[in-house]
């Protein structure tokens, strides 16, 4: 292969694609990804406010970190801090976060699958805070209680 051909081939096959990579990296800076909520969360709330015994029962068995969240884009998989290590799905869209199974899956107030968290995500990526309500889906007795959560290990 002659030197001139090699240079032309190198410019076309390496130089131009490399310039395209640089352009992609430059333009891609404007892209926005979902807010990061992955990691362990310590939840602060007054669980007694949930009111009745059936609702209290599952929550008293919880240990901190209350939530262990793994994230892929806006989709979340949340492991609860209860003895059964219940797993719930969740989503984060903009600053709004929702964790909880569809109401049809929940059987009664004592079922951890009945838990539902709705929160707003605040703070920068390294000091993220959740604030919202924790309630039981489909329970006519108890009312949702406010909570605040801070992120520990990621």
């Amino acid at each position: 292969m002659s030197r001139s051909k090699l240079i032309v081939a190198y410019v076309c096959l390496v130089g131009i694609p490399l310039a395209a990579v640089v352009a992609i990296l430059w333009l891609g800076r404007q892209l926005v990804a979902p807010l990061s909520v992955a990691g362990s969360w310590k939840v602060e709330a007054d669980f007694s406010a949930l009111g009745s015994d059936p609702c209290m029962a599952p929550l008293t068995a919880f240990r901190q970190p209350f939530l262990d969240v793994s994230q892929s884009g806006g989709d979340l998989t949340v492991r609860l801090g209860n003895p059964q290590k219940t797993i719930l799905p969740g989503i984060v869209r903009g600053r709004k976060l929702r964790i909880g199974a569809a109401s049809a899956e929940a059987r009664d107030c004592r079922d951890p699958l009945s838990l539902e968290l709705q929160a707003t995500v605040d703070g920068s990526a390294d000091r993220r805070i959740l604030s919202g309500t924790l309630g039981i889906v489909g329970c006519t007795i108890c009312t949702a209680v406010p909570f605040r959560a801070v992120r520990g290990n990621r």
Binding site: M1, R3, L6, A9, Y10, L13, V14, P17, L18, A20, V21, I24, L25, L27, G28, R29, L31, V32, A33, P34, L35, S36, V37, A38, S70, Q71, S72, G73, G74, D75, A125, D126, R154
Partner: protein, 424 residues
């Protein structure tokens, strides 16, 4: 304290499964390492955890995985050292400018496709704790990698190491791997520099420059004594091997402490080792058995335990996964083939070279695990890319045989085939 019985049971299950699956894969003409990779995936949540969750939880309780990870990391540190030992940079000079063009195109083409696809992936599979630049660079680098050791093994098994196509593939793969590791080092540095407990920038850059200088000057001189000793006595003493391991471990710890990763240090220690063919063969043989037979299956199993095909849920996710596989093949196989053709190689040989370069194997898994550890990719993307690694590695041997049947293999152009590389 780890539950020793659990750990022993895990080792037995992993090594047993790995040996059986590797044997079966060899029966269908695949390299042993691909069977071991599949075996690891089978032991994870994708198969065992799905079919028999209680059995999986009994054999691999989450609390015990830290010990399994530690053992597998020791294995991969030694393995990366052996990969470095097997590389011989002086061989690259023999192939002239054509190999530079081919190797660079085989990196840039998949890198471009990977980073372009990252524009689509970033809002869907990443989050704001990772910058787009880190994410795109990682996806590009992960698509560009070639499994130098698996490639060397395939070529050795087909007696192609000394042929023109074999030596070209090895030379390109060596350049690809070194470049890929440099890009990865930059990404790790980029990510870790944003973390709260990060090593200061000047410490990383200054420390690395000093470390590389010391390794190339003092380290290389020390390592040369091993070669001299080997040439004098025909073997190395147990103490010499212990010192060699110590150098590898110290090198690994240094790069980790400087804010990079353990594996860069062990790889560098291997690269600066003397390249006398007999000596390289001897060093590899001394470490290979324990590393390849015992410790590497642990790494595959640990990777498998982190891989869950079930995370790829829904039509969109599967389409993304298929797109990743297609782009990885198009970029690597297509790019290498095009470059080889431009460099004057026949279409058949160009296609064969592209097929070989498309092998990702264990090196891809190593890079993906680092990406998952530093948080640049999610578990879902990790699982998709593990599938991509499996597919591209699995397709290599049959596709190569189809494109370049054994009857077309020419006589080796060099009788000193082992000087090119030593398959690990």
């Amino acid at each position: 304290m780890p539950n020793l019985l659990t750990l022993v049971f895990q080792l037995a299950a992993i090594i047993g499964a790995s040996a059986v699956v590797a044997f079966l894969f060899q029966k269908i003409g695949q390299p042993k390492v691909i069977g071991e990779m599949f075996s690891g995936i089978m032991l994870g949540p994708s198969l065992l955890g799905w079919l028999a969750p209680h059995v999986s939880a009994t054999i691999f309780p989450p609390a015990s995985l830290g010990y399994l990870n530690a053992l597998s990391q020791v294995g991969i540190i030694i393995y990366m050292f052996l990969v470095g030992v097997s590389m011989n940079p002086t061989e690259l000079r023999k192939h002239g400018h054509a190999v530079v063009l081919m190797s660079h195109v085989s990196i840039v083409a998949p890198f471009l496709l990977g980073s372009a696809f990252a524009v689509y992936l970033y809002p869907r599979l990443s989050d704001d704790s990772v910058s787009f630049m880190s994410f795109a660079l990682f996806v590009g680098a992960a698509m560009s990698i070639t499994a130098f050791p698996v490639l060397a093994r395939i070529l050795a098994e087909r007696d192609l190491l000394g042929t023109k196509i074999g030596s070209l593939a090895i030379a390109c793969a060596a350049v690809d791997d070194v470049t890929g590791w440099c890009i990865l080092a930059y990404i790790v540095f980029l990510i870790r520099s944003h973390q709260a407990a990060a090593t200061p920038l000047w410490v990383t850059i200054g420390g690395l420059a000093l470390f590389v200088f010391l390794m190339l000057s003092v380290g290389r001189r020390i390592l040369r004594h091993f070669e001299t000793g080997y040439q004098k006595y025909g073997k190395l003493s147990e103490n010499s091997l212990a010192i060699m391991v110590l150098i590898v471990l110290l090198s690994a710890v240094t790069t980790e402490r400087l804010g990079l990763h353990l594996l860069f240090g062990s790889f560098l220690a291997g690269v600066i080792m003397p390249k006398n063919a007999a000596f390289v063969r001897y060093v590899v043989s001394r470490f290979e058995t324990v590393t390849v037979v015992i410790l590497l299956p642990l790494y595959f199993a640990f990777t498998g335990l982190r891989t869950s095909i079930r995370l790829i849920a829904g039509k969109e996710m599967w389409l993304i996964c298929l797109a990743i596989i297609a782009l990885a093949i198009a970029g690597k196989l297509g790019g290498s083939m095009l470059a080889a053709r431009c460099a004057g190689t026949s279409w058949r040989e160009s296609a064969a070279l592209g097929t070989l370069m498309n092998t990702r194997g264990l090196m891809e898994l190593v890079i993906l695990n680092i990406g998952l550890d530093i948080g640049v990719i999610s578990h879902t993307l990790f699982s998709m890319m593990v599938l991509m690694a499996l597919v591209t590695t699995f397709m290599t041997a049959p596709l190569f045989e189809w494109i370049y049947p054994s009857k077309l293999v020419e006589t080796p152009i060099t009788t000193n085939a082992d000087a090119v590389c030593e398959p690990v």
